[in-house]
């Protein structure tokens, strides 16, 4: 099936994003879309390398890197992976010291591109596929970034430890004393996914929910890619937040895990990609940005990385959950940007770290 359905659902569920975020704040004249030319490929191959900073799960990021290297011989992609908030910290520290190491960055916290754009760090670049195949509200009007991937911060459980009929179906279920000491969650000061999810959960359910959750003796890990792995290990029975795509991947590999989309709505996470103005390998960066948003990269995103694409020619994976069937919370990158500090401080107070 086509992803168009999902895209429509997406449009419905993220009107806030269109209204208030980095994207579409004004109808500026975007730079013209740029096709991949032989000259660009040649220039990129001459540079021969690029640094791809990202928050996506490491094996996923390395898969993209290897696929790109296979298509464009002679360009080595170095993946610099950590949680989005640490990527953000790293880039901030490096830029403040005048170190220009990053070429392309894909984050897991839509607020980051707002800050980078405001700082004047991003280069305008609109790949042809983004202009032609992505809904207009999902790329920056000035061409500074494009929304590469969409995924959810879901709940989940280990099927060896929890029977399906006993599994939680909502955030409220997690507050049941029977889950005391049995849950794992990631941390908003390290993970962009969790920063986004914490913002949306606090907005929809109130901080009171997180206060109660903090009393459930939840195991605290850092990256949102870790809770799914802790479930697969059997270390905890239930995941209170984390990436749904890691769970889907693990399940497909036969691990005893199951995804749960909570009945109150599931936090909706956006991962934009941007090319840095100070990129040491500007041509390779642009070529990668084009490839990542072209059909090949986007199909890999759906088929291997198990996330959602906005590209209108990408086909969904048969049997996969459709965004239109899931109740979603609304994305609000600008809201996250405004509250990030407060969220980190309140969270640290509640959870002790």
């Amino acid at each position: 099936m086509r992803v168009k359905v999902s895209r429509r659902a997406l449009l419905r569920s993220t009107t806030a994003l269109a209204a208030s975020t980095a994207f579409a704040t004004r109808a500026a004249a975007a730079p013209p879309a740029e096709p991949v030319t032989q000259a660009l490929i040649a220039a990129a191959q001459k540079e021969g390398k690029l640094a791809f900073y990202t928050a996506m799960d490491l094996p996923v990021a390395e898969k993209f890197a290897k696929a790109f290297e296979a298509k464009y011989a002679g360009i080595a992609v170095r993946v610099e992976r950590s949680g989005a908030e640490r990527v953000f910290q790293r880039i901030g520290q490096e830029m403040a010291s005048n170190i220009h190491a990053v070429d392309v960055v894909n984050t897991a916290d839509g607020a980051h591109v707002i800050v980078w754009k405001r700082n004047g760090w991003l280069a305008p670049y609109v790949p042809e596929d983004v202009a032609r195949h992505f809904p207009a509200q999902y790329h920056d009007p000035d061409g500074m970034s494009a929304l590469t991937r969409v995924w959810l911060s879901s709940l989940g459980y280990n099927t060896n430890l929890v029977k399906p009929e006993d599994a939680p179906t909502s955030f409220a279920d997690l507050l049941d004393p029977k889950w005391m000491g049995k849950m794992v969650k990631a941390h908003p000061a390290y993970s962009g996914t969790i920063m986004t999810a914490t913002f949306q959960i606090a907005r929809e359910l109130g901080w009171g929910y997180l206060e109660k959750l903090a009393k459930q003796k939840v195991m605290q890990v850092q990256s949102s890619t870790d809770p799914p792995k802790k479930l697969a290990l059997g270390e905890r029975a239930v995941m209170a937040d984390g990436n749904d795509y890691n769970l889907i991947q693990l399940k497909e590999r036969g691990q005893p895990v199951e995804v749960v989309y909570p009945s109150e709505g599931t936090p909706f996470v956006t991962g934009p990609t941007a090319v840095f103005k100070s990129a040491p390998n500007p041509n390779a960066a642009r070529l990668f940005q084009s490839w990542l948003h072209a059909r090949e990269g986007q199909q890999l995103l759906v088929d291997f990385a198990r996330q959602h694409s906005l590209h209108d020619q990408v086909t969904g994976k048969p049997g996969a959950a459709k965004l239109s069937d899931i109740k979603l919370m609304k994305d609000d990158a600008a809201g996250v940007e405004a509250q990030a500090e407060e969220i980190k401080a309140r969270y640290a107070k509640l959870f002790g770290v």
Binding site: A51, Y53, D57, L58, P59, E62, K63, A65, K66, A76, V77, R78, V79, E80, R81, S82, G83, E85, R86, F88, Q89, R90, G92, Q93, E94, A96, S97, N98, I99, A101, V102, H187, A189, Y190, M219, Q220, V221, Q222, S223, T225, D226, K229, K230, A232, L233, G234, E235, R236, Q255, E341, K344, A348, K349, F351, G352, V353
Partner: protein
Amino acid sequence: MTLALTAPRRARLDPSWPILIAFAAILIALIVLPMSWLAYFSVTDKTGALTLDNFAKLVTDPTFVDPLITTVILATSSAIICCVVAAPMGWLVARTDMPLRRTIRALVTASFVTPPFLGAIAWELLAAPNSGLLNQLYRGIIGDPGAEPLFNIYTLPGLIFVISCYTFPYVFVLVANALDRIPGDLEDASSILGGRMWVTARRVTIPLALPAVLAGALVAFLQAMTLFGSPAILALPAGFHTMTTKIWSLFQYPPKPELAAAASIPLLVLTVLLLRAEHMILGRRSYAVVGGKQSNPRLVQLGGWKWVALGLAMLVLMNPVFLPYGALLNAAFSRTASQFVSLTNFTLHNIEFVFFELSATKLAFKNTFILGFLSATIGTIIAVVISYLTARRAIAGWRALAFLATAPVAVPGIVLGVGLFLSYTRPPFVLYGTLWILLIAFVTIALPAAYQQLQAAFRTVSVDLEEASRILGATRLQALSHITAPLLRTSVIATWCFIFVGVIRELSAAIILFTSETKVISVLIFDLNESGDLGAIAVLGIIMLVITFAVVVAINRIPGFGGGVRFRS
């Protein structure tokens, strides 16, 4: 000073003088500059105005007070556990006829050089409450899959245990070396006068060894207090901070370097105080054995108990060596790190991933080797020159040089990291983002141990040979390189190797100072832990251990080398 008198006219032309001055300048750049920036930042606010607010926040804000209390509890408990375990072990190895004493010493060395953060990750694999291999075994044995876990590593006691695993060697080495040196005659005298074994132990051996035990306790306290990797790996899941993880978290966006600087000061002050205390205690010890004449210590005959003793020693060494190494090997070849390797889940995927997919591997190894090689070489050179100058009192300011070379021992790795970050991210010296800043950190961290070791070695080389060469017209440098250096070769090589191994396992300064292009293996492993990629960690960790052991074995091949060098991380 006698050297200067023998060749007064030559001194002006001797090219060694500028070099000597240069070394003093290097030491000042290594230590004085970062510590000054640290002190300056701790008393300023964001705008640069003088303030004491940072310290006020430190003592009133519970998010700072709690980690400080936790750290003190952690360090005290670890120090006590280390003494209780390591002191009897040191005695068994040094003064009894327990079998396999050399093997035990080698295994303690193995725990000594195991990176503590790697040990912490291995203990996650072993003793995570539900997925831990030991807990699974326990549940299997009692036949109750839902039983409460036997061990929970994600707790303060769990963290204390893991830190003790990799800290007790410090106490062991101090105690065993002290007992090696305590002459047997005192004990013989006691038994001739009718003292039985336990009386002799209580009235002679223990009082003589006590200063070493106390000094060991202080060193263990310092280690536990300043460690970063283990708490970062185990305390965060447990929901608490220690001072080092708290300092690290202050670099989260937006970074608060002034608070990080202020939070570093208590660690610095405590370290200085404890080192003063250690100095006083060790001073007393040398006084205590003045009366004895050196003779080979008499080995206590344990009889049948020697097998019990060996069993206990091996049981202790299960914790830092056998169990964690086993867990890492298991995770490297198992599809799921929490499952025992079997025919159905055996995989080479982790090895393939680390070598062929993980794009950071090559760079991290390259950086680590470059840094290890350069730090070891430069650190050894600096240590040789300074030990020479101080052992021979060759220049007027030798006392200051000796002090500067020893001073970094009082600076915890993460504090040095913060200081260097503040010093070298702004003009006139912008070194952040280059390997230089890491090189400076690693050399500084290694210097005190390297200096102490080489200084001791220099004392054994007579000054007459150097003077003879100088009288025959050699410059001081020529004398050093042609006469003294060859005589010191063993110590120099040993020092080089120990710095190299120390660099491989360093994390606490590197975690503050790395950039994406200057990542080292320890930081790569730490990042992989963040995303829960345990299989890849196991593979990288095993490679690290193999390299480390290769270097350690190389050292042990050098004849006459037996002493330990202090490592920090």
